[in-house]
């Protein structure tokens, strides 16, 4: 099973009582607000879930794996996610049974 926007919208319909249209818009807006914050260089801290942060990576040498040709990988800004201690321990507690 994979969780997608459709399932999240169903949950907002069932649990929050939003109508179908609002539920769909709310899910879309949730992720759009996070994207907008990150786009403007702002990190996003969702307590109990995790933090989205931005990292500026300098240019580094790379290679075309097919041709072996050397090409620089340009400097870029990337998003990293750090799960909160709460999410990590929830995942670990539930998954432990599956590991051992």
């Amino acid at each position: 099973m994979t969780l997608t926007k459709a399932e999240l919208a169903d949950l907002l319909f069932d649990k929050v009582g939003l109508n179908k249209r609002e539920a769909k818009d709310m899910v879309e807006s949730f992720f759009e607000e996070v994207r907008t914050a990150l786009e403007t260089g702002d990190s996003v801290k969702l307590s109990g879930f995790g933090n989205f942060q931005l990292r500026d990576k300098p240019q580094r040498p790379g290679r075309n794996p097919k041709t072996g040709e050397e090409i620089p990988i340009t400097a870029r800004r990337v998003v990293t996610f750090h799960a909160s201690q709460k999410l990590k321990s929830t995942v670990d507690a539930t998954q432990n049974g599956n590991v051992r």
Partner: protein, 95 residues
């Protein structure tokens, strides 16, 4: 941006809803995402990214204070991979 700022921005986008609905909606979304990862399910949000669990095999670690060897059990850790739209919007404008 914190969770309460996110809630405030969503409440502004939905003036027809009571402020409490945005608050509850954010809680429901984050709880569902946490529960999915706890079950070992993936999360796929088109244009935003995907969350999945990465396996960390068991290893022998050391207590940095005593230098004593300790067995660290295998575990799963949440991992996020940014989607195409997020990656492109966040990246620096091409020089």
């Amino acid at each position: 941006m914190t969770k309460s700022e996110l809630i405030a921005r969503l409440a502004e986008r939905f003036p027809q809803l009571v402020a409490k609905d945005a608050d509850f909606a954010v809680k429901v979304i984050l709880d569902a995402m946490s529960a999915a990862l706890a079950r070992g399910d993936r999360i796929e949000i088109r244009g935003f990214g995907s969350f999945a669990l990465n396996y960390r095999p068991p290893r022998t670690g050391r207590n940095p204070k005593s230098g004593e060897k300790v067995q660290v059990p295998a575990k799963y850790v949440p991992h996020f991979k940014a989607g195409k739209e997020l990656r492109e919007r966040v990246d620096l404008p091409a020089a």
